[in-house]
Assembly symmetry: D2
Homo-oligomer: 424 residues x 4
């Protein structure tokens, strides 16, 4: 009965609520509580948004303080003190230590909007139209970003041809068990061949748009060698190398950017999800200055691109990275998850473990099985969601701030759910 | 110096901050204060978002309470008590009294995303691709919505052809002074002719996408007769009638929907901007159930479509409409603005007044002049922004909650600015 | 039984043969004879190809001589003496007397190919993509030309969106009786308005593609004023003015080009149909040298672009224009047809007469009636075909060389057929 | 001086005449003679049109007789005795002995038009838009066919995006020396993988469009295994299998269809070039009846689709296939060419020989070298042309009717030209 309002009035398109059929009321760090008072451990973190947990106390204080003092909540792209604090913190904490020189572009506060802006800029800079993205890629739902997204379920909803993007094979570091799409370095060679043969049918593209780990695509991890090769190829062809770090950035993999330890220098980096810290929306692109100067004022606008509550909480979130221990802990907890998944995979050798940092996943090969396991998790008090082309993968992405006890309990619940469904 | 951080690190694309070069620090109802302590009267309301003013006290209380009590801040499309309260309030306050039967679709929290979703649904329902939008329309910046947006400044940034939308003449109730694009009922006749002649080159469209007042397009007001005609034509052709009420809805024109007093029954209504109440992002479509059922679960997704802070503040905002006096007051204040603009237009008869409710505008014909006036306003302590194809129009859209004193003072500042620039 | 081979083995797409169900065996000037020996007067001339009649004796001699002497029949774009003779004759007879400076581009021997080449060149020269064509236009069946063609029957067969062309109202000199698509000079004004308003949604086009008389579109005759206005607008906007004279050129209207007496100077002129003289295929564009130089060798190729039989017969055909009496006669015969149509229209005032030179038509308003009349013509021994968006128009386009007796007899048959069907 | 007319008046786009700079006057079987009386052996046969040589005596007689007797030269798609004779002959000689059931669709008389019609039909039948063609494919120059053609030189001339076709790797039976585009069976596997993974970004296509030998693409020969695999994959996916036999059909490879000895059953076969016999244009598709019935009358029209001179000569040409010796001879001559090329390749082992029947080629790897050799051939009295993505291949395609002496002499000239340029 408590869900009846939704069933009666909300659109048929609703999805997550079908897999987690309860009404949530409150949340704290890695736990959500429903209105019956039942507590769930959160291994999904709002689709990777809540890297710092639900209702981080420092963010709560900062937000309450800001609101109480009549801080500007919504400012378009006008200047505010909250925005300046965020920019300053981002520059000092993230860019300067890495010697990175980028211009910060705040866009409509969704990842898809960040991708749309990046594609516009790449097309403007190069004067070309076609963009290369990769099988299993996820880049968003608006028409420009959707053309780069590969899942047929999403693409079928477009209703128009999704032009100006071509999809090629991704450079997985290991072959996924039931994937046959030519992972690894051969895919790079094929791209190079396509663009060196004038009769391939392909003209040099405006950009290569790439994730370091395809999260929605099933936690498929690209090798550094392949990523570097794509970047080199892009530059050989006069194309931009756009790195979509929307889900993988903001510390998820054990470093602020997912590519921090790689020899990469993207032309544009798209960020969203975790940068707002608290779960309020925000999206921001980092553009190399030589590209950024091609924008004319206001060419890509968006009412909600000045989200000061997100600036406030996001500034607190960036503070986490002042202490190197935060990323050390992230990697340590990532190992804990990884080990447990490997233990499970030893029991059921047909399953495959993939991931990096606190983005870890178990590939169950079989989409029906994985969905039953995810539901079993929910029933046992654990939130975890499927991904991959057939939903055959469950990714475990708790808040980076999850206490060890909750992590352990969550892993126990997960293993029990797997056992129950596999052995059952 | 205080703006140097922005100039050094933020993208060249920034726009509003160039017209209002200061750093804002706090805001309350219809006033914003910069970090030097200078107070500005806000006649722009965050591009139409802040219908209920900055930092509405009841919303502040509700938000602080929600945050303090660890309310869920971010919930994808899972069920939360905050969302249920919002839905319930919307159904009771808005839908039921109007006998409207719609399904609520929460989308990525931007207007452009709402439009993208509406176009997908219209194309799905009809199996057609082309959509009709209108000269001077503004519907958003992502590729699907941008195709429906007409301003060349925005379209030029796409870098790819903007296909599957065709633009026709809008049905202004009065001819804009320097507009030659065939306003009024003849545009409807032309559409009917195009779609009844099998050699026009046009196939029946998936949808007609229309604003009742083209705000960004220069506050061009459609006649009810024309809107009704477009709706009828859509239905004759088996197309959907989509009403974009993103800027005009939520009370701006003196009724909740901008078309409340008209004999209209849209297939889809897009809402954003004002519905979140506080300035935090939110977007929601109202789909007729017979169309909504064509959605498959999760086909149009978006990380940030579960914005509980917006649900909390938005629920408070809906409370304003429980008292009919609120809309009476809005219309009264709208008349106050209108009268003042007419007074100015009497002094300078080449200028034209247009608008409805608290969306009122003065068309200065000359884009250079209007931009100088807007800057003069800023210098005098009033925030107001230009719109229209050449920026030749200034629209005055204060919060609906603006106190009479502030409204009066703002209008004085505006008139002084006009006088200074026109007579100067 | 004699048609059974076709019915059994030929594609369902066959069309003309359904309206003229017999098997033709021979033809001479304006008469075709079927295998039963029945003679038909030809008022259709192979869809406007056979301006010089069937089996013109001089062309027959020239072709037989050429074949007997082993002339090259097929030469790609290599040089042949036959081609040189054609070029020389065309330059001396057509270009030089008119002081016209164009480069001759021989393309794959179909009108649609000529249009494709013209659009490529216009897009190359301008760097723009969109082309303007007009309601009721016919420019061909291949995808590039089909996008400029308007009839839904043809467009529906494309199976893909027909992008990069936009259709606007044509500049008829008189309003067609059941046409509501805004003929005449207002359509020019609307175009000018669209391209002067930066928020119309339209960017300046690569080209305006226009027919002086829309033959397939129902013999809709553009006014010189409108054509000149379109040419001026094109040049104001930096666009090319392409004149499609495929059906109207080669003498049909009483002058070699259909626009000879107008103050026009097209950037590209497309020719096909009549230029080969004998009914063998040929197509040729005339490109202004300043545009033509943008072509790279072989960029638009086509196996059959060197049709020497067409060069041989086409050279003979050009000889007709050495004697001014030929065009005088054409205009005189055109008047004969016109007068008869006007006589018929006096009897049935709801019908409208339109045309110029020997392109004359009667608009029966009602497509069912016109098709019955065309069939009645066939039954009585006259070949005539319908055109127009609903097939409501019958155009009478006999060979220009038709003897007066045949012309008279044909007109008698036509009038009898009309009477029989209208009064019947 | 004799070429000055062309240089002054013909378009800059002319191409073959630049490689063979003389003016041809007559031609007989495998020889062309220029106006200075110099004789050239023709190893190019009008780009594969003149399979039966220039001015075949039986065709000459038939054409002269037809013209002298006032045969209908041009008949749209009306029935003629000439067309019936052609259809009957085609059915009896080609279809019935092979037990093939197809409907004959006569289209505008160019190969590109045949491809356009085939793509329309495939899209109609399947309701899908995207078509798969292959790297190095050549299918024509009009926009629909050009999208399936891969050479950048041609594609760059389009001026608009070439959408709705995707290019994949071709199934060469042997790896071309400097080709890196993934020839052979792996390309089939990749296609199967792409279409079985719902997150590849590719939806099932309307058709696979394939050549058995990519002539323009550099005489790249597909294996039967791969062709069969593509056909099977097409049918698994509900797509059509379209075989473009425009250059390879009509006997070129030693059997009427290039796939006669393969276990293939195409849904649509496109034919042009050789079917008219004499060099006059003609194009014809063979559609399976179950697909053909989806056409509505006249949906894909074209003025010149009733070319009776081509029907007359084409009927004579089909007579060649009544005697099995004709194809035996073709294979024997093909072997003669092949052996000579292999002899040359023994001298210069870096060159590669490829081909089948009388479509044989030498791949010189180096495009500059091959162009110098082709010019050396011309200077020595042999017409031969380059193909391949960089023009690095010379294909030898004399008329199938070439006398042994001419063949021998031509091969001698070719070998001398190679020696002169390679050793020189």
């Amino acid at each position: 009965m408590h869900m009846q309002v939704f069933e009666q009035w909300e659109s048929e398109i609703r999805a997550y609520c079908r897999a987690a059929p309860t009404v949530f009321h409150s949340a704290s760090n890695a736990r959500q509580t429903d209105e019956q008072g039942r507590s769930y451990i959160d291994f999904y973190a709002g689709a990777g948004v809540l890297n710092f947990g639900h209702n981080d106390p420092k963010m709560k204080d900062a937000l309450i303080d800001y609101i109480q003092n009549d801080g500007v909540a919504h400012s378009l792209d006008m200047y505010t003190t909250a925005k300046r604090a965020f920019i300053t913190k981002f520059v000092e904490t993230i860019l300067k230590p890495r010697d990175m020189d980028y211009r910060l572009q705040f866009v409509g506060p969704t990842g898809t909007n960040a991708v749309e802006a990046a594609l516009k800029l790449a097309r403007r800079v190069t004067g070309r139209q076609q963009v290369v993205s990769f099988h299993h890629a996820f880049h968003g739902m608006t028409l420009g970003a959707l053309a780069a997204t590969t899942n047929a379920h999403f693409r079928n909803a477009a209703g128009v041809p999704l032009d100006n993007v071509v999809h090629q094979a991704f450079g997985c570091e290991t072959q996924c068990p039931n994937c046959t799409l030519g992972c690894g370095m051969p895919s790079l060679e094929r791209l190079r061949d396509i663009y060196s043969d004038p009769s391939s049918g392909f003209a040099p593209p405006a950009a290569f748009l790439v994730e370091t780990i395809q999260a929605e695509g099933g936690v498929r991890v690209a090798s550094e060698e392949w990523l570097k090769g794509i970047q080199d190829l892009a530059h050989e062809l006069g194309a931009l190398f756009i790195l979509d770090d929307i889900q993988m950035g903001s510390g998820r993999t054990g470093s602020y950017f997912s590519f921090d330890e790689m020899d990469l220098d993207p032309d544009i980096i798209t960020l969203a999800k975790g940068i707002g810290g608290f779960g309020t929306p925000m999206a921001m692109n980092l553009n190399k200055p030589e590209h950024d100067k091609h924008w004319l004022p206001g060419e890509h606008t968006g009412t909600f691109r000045g989200q000061d509550l997100s600036f406030i909480a996001g500034t607190v979130a960036l503070g986490y990275f002042d202490d190197p221990a935060f990323m050390d802990e992230t990697r340590r907890k990532g190992e804990v998850i990884r080990k447990r998944l490997e233990t499970i995979a030893e029991k059921y050798p047909r399953f495959a473990v993939r991931g990096r940092g606190m983005m870890q996943a178990l590939d169950f090969i079989d989409g029906d099985l994985s969905k039953r396991i995810a539901r079993e998790c929910f029933d046992r008090g654990l939130l975890a969601a499927v991904c991959g082309s057939k939903g055959q993968v469950i990714k475990l992405i708790p808040p980076l701030t999850i206490p060890d006890d909750d992590l352990e309990e969550g892993l126990n619940l997960f293993e029990q759910a797997v056992d129950a469904q596999v052995e059952g």
